[in-house]
Subunit: 207 residues, 2 copies
Amino acid sequence: MLVKKSLEEFNEVLGSDAPAPGGGSVAALSGALGAALVAMVCRLSIGKKDLEAYTNEINAALPKADDLANGLMRRVDLDTEAFNAVMAAFKLPKGSDEEKQNRAAAIQQGYKEAVQSPYAIARECLSVLALSKTLLGKTNPNALSDLGVAAQQAYAGLEGAIMNVKINLPSIKDEQFKSAISSELSQLLKSGREAKDEVYNFVSDKL
Amino acid sequence: MLVKKSLEEFNEVLGSDAPAPGGGSVAALSGALGAALVAMVCRLSIGKKDLEAYTNEINAALPKADDLANGLMRRVDLDTEAFNAVMAAFKLPKGSDEEKQNRAAAIQQGYKEAVQSPYAIARECLSVLALSKTLLGKTNPNALSDLGVAAQQAYAGLEGAIMNVKINLPSIKDEQFKSAISSELSQLLKSGREAKDEVYNFVSDKL
């Protein structure tokens, strides 16, 4: 499993000539790092006298941040598995008509998963951004830059995941599936950009 | 060492109530992931018939990407060490006048390192962005999204590192040091934004 590799080892296999892990797994990791930073900021804020008014909100945000961090971390492996499934489908036998049909179906199924995987990463990165936005002005000021970095990482994950959706979409023949995903992407990006800008402006104004 | 921890373990300690590792180490990691993706894209491009015209350029870019990936990975630990040095300085004895003086000097020295560390991360992230920009249109089109993700990660690292410079700058009393760093930040950010936009626009147009 990729998430069991050390940072060093992961970066080495990432930089190698193996096409996976690639950008999709990195987008998931980036979102997970953002979510973990939100969790850290919450933990560094609980019990601070000046922030007592926000205790309930911070206590509610913390498990959400932990869940997003864990969920996105799992997607590091899931995204590489989805990519490998497409590659495996291309290697299926294509001698008989039945084999050709089975292979084509497996490739299409593989591409659907290779789209759904980064699509889910993008949505979860947006959740990290939305969560960090709700915390502005309510957390430990010593960790202000950490909240800013959290939003940067989640946004990079969102953008990266969307690129991974887009590179695989043209291979899909199911037009309904394709247009359902396609129509969501611009809204995802718009919401993400707004949330990132709000966090960025808040943090930058105070730094 | 942080870089010896698994992705899972790193994210757990990141999300914990320990203030370090925090945003600075994440910015370094983000840059390292970007650099590794640039290296992967180079490796997936070498030997491709259609890209023969760019062989020399890609061969020249690859060791630079590997070096940036390794250098930024080392900075994951260095940044946390710089932060811990500041915390350790605050814990020095402050009984006698001499102790007070020593403690104040150690704190100032610590803050300088806690500024220089993310400043170096920001510059190296800019190098990753500049490198990815030189590769546009010259690499394997199957890895186009990976080049886009590389730029997103390097840019998130640049922005995050700059936030970490800015949060520590006000604690520094050496005005010359402060203004030397300060004056570079906006140029770093401007160059980074331009490079990121160029990569982003190129990649998005083709996806």
